[in-house]
Amino acid sequence: MNLKSRYVKQKIWHGILLFITGIVVAFVFGIVIYLFIKGSSTLSWEFISTHPDQGMRSGGILPAILGTLYLVGGTIIFSLPVGILSAIYLNEYAAKNRLTRMIRLSIVNVAGVPSIVFGLFGLGFFVIILNFGKSLLAGSLTLSILILPVVITSSEEALKAVPNEYREASLALGATKWQTITKVVLPQALPGIITGSVISVGRAAGETAPILFTVAVYSMRSLPNSIFSEAMVLPYHLYVIATQIPNAPVDMQWGTALVLLLLVMVFAIVGSGIRAWSRVRKIK
């Protein structure tokens, strides 16, 4: 093969790869733009601040939004302490032994468990055995273990990024290990930990399968008033009006999908924002 044809071949392949990447990018933008075009006409203060009406064929989605926010709040409360402590164990305490390898392997495997299996587990354990019933508590706990691997991994990355000199300096001053961790290491790692947590919590907000059997209900007259209440939640509400209710107005479906996407993207953007901000601050 002469040089020219080899370069032609290169050009063609580069073109193909660029095209493939273009399709992926187009899909992402396509979804976001399409949802905005179709959903923005429904989006109004009224839509997000009123209850559904006429068997969900009109009215707003307030209870679903609130339900999701409560659920996310619960998930934060349960998953962050355990996740961060677990990361501290792995990065600050754990020896390089078989136990540590097993912990790491379990984290990878928990991360790979299908979301519907978390739903089954939540039903079997939190709802039935611990007798929490279908409730915000059971749902939050289920989502917490779902996002735990991400919280652990990202927190550990953040801890790893703190230079060892900091620890040594603190220990040399006579601080205990725990004082070193809480007063020196954690403050340094905090932006990274928050970034990872916010992004993973956003993921929890969009999950449907784990909450199907643990908290989500079709419709509710009142708002949830305790951690033992069932709740309407946004992703499940979208599923219900898109597939379970005949002739639900299409506009409402698009509007709900857009609100859900915006909510999840707010988490992602806030998370990335914190990361960018902390990087800039470090450079200064």
Partner: protein, 293 residues
């Protein structure tokens, strides 16, 4: 209390134990999940004939027929189609982003791929229902657009972020001296890419594909919404099917707690857990090779 050295020692000891317990939490969770799947499916496995379950060709809960084959075929069909779409696209995009794209372009592309990972699966399912389904319906002249193929397309896009980001890590991990050596021997950039870089990164790329497959097999809401929900054995991508995950999601609400149907759904959940567990173990084995280089 006075902070004597002894008190500090005790405090550190207790904190150490609490931290250790948190560290062990992931193992505990994994064990609990397995334990509860086994516990709840016990009734099904002890009363329903095992061979009728594994080789049964009909899933018909109202007649107490729980044949696994239709669901397995549905899951495999959708997953196979998704992999067929996602692997060339994911690896192709990873090569472009990791090897060919200029630095500023790469910095723009990476967050865009990350955004794709944040789309909730119901939203992907909804897009499949409203936009992709109708296109497939028109393209293949079907009566409804909800078929295995629609599921494959949506799942392929859901697996792409995983496949792209891990493949790209593997490509980045290839040492530059490999590229330089290849270029010095007179290879073009493309020849270097596909004869040197990609083969060197192949175990990482394989791990990426396995992790993508794990996501595809376990994904629930999108397939539930777009594959048409019909538990019959069909060997066509243009017909409705039903996957293992969609069956659990759609039927659990109708079951009696502790009944045979309820237990059967836990049983297929257990099988799903085992399948994804194995896929992850394989992926983990290969992913460690990226780090070793």
């Amino acid at each position: 209390m006075k902070k004597t050295p002894r008190f500090r020692k005790l405090k550190n000891f207790i904190i150490g134990k609490i931290v250790l317990l948190s560290g062990l939490f992931s193992i505990i969770v994994l064990a609990l999940i397995l334990a509860f799947l086994v516990y709840n499916s016990f009734k099904f496995f002890s009363t329903y004939p095992f061979f009728e379950f594994i080789f049964g060709d009909r899933w018909f809960p109202s007649n107490e027929k729980f044949g696994f084959i239709p669901l397995l075929v549905g899951s495999l069909e959708v997953a196979f189609g998704a992999i067929l779409i996602a692997v060339p696209m994911g690896v192709g995009a990873a090569i472009y982003i990791g090897e060919l794209a200029p630095r500023p372009v790469r910095e723009v592309l990476k967050p865009i791929i990350e955004i794709l990972a944040t789309f909730p699966s119901v939203v992907i399912g909804f897009i499949g229902l409203m936009a992709v389904g109708p296109i497939i319906k028109r393209l293949f002249n079907l009566s409804i657009g909800l078929a295995a193929l629609t599921g494959s397309v949506m799942l392929a896009f859901m697996a792409l972020p995983t496949i792209i980001s891990i493949s790209e890590d593997a490509i980045n991990a290839v040492p530059n001296r490999f590229r330089n050596a290849s270029t010095a021997l007179g290879a073009t950039k493309w020849e270097t890419t596909y004869k040197t870089v990609v083969p060197t990164a192949s175990s990482g790329i394989f791990a990426a594909v396995m992790l993508g497959l794990g996501r595809i097999v376990g994904e629930t809401m999108a397939v539930l919404m777009v594959t048409g929900n019909s538990p019959r054995i069909v060997f066509s991508w243009l017909q409705p099917v039903r996957t293992i995950t969609a069956t659990i999601a759609s039927e659990m609400g109708e079951t009696v707690q502790g009944g045979l149907h309820y237990s059967a759904l836990f049983a297929i959940g257990l099988i799903l857990f085992i399948i994804t567990f194995l896929i992850n173990l394989i992926a983990d084995r290969y992913i460690n090779r990226i780090k070793m280089k």
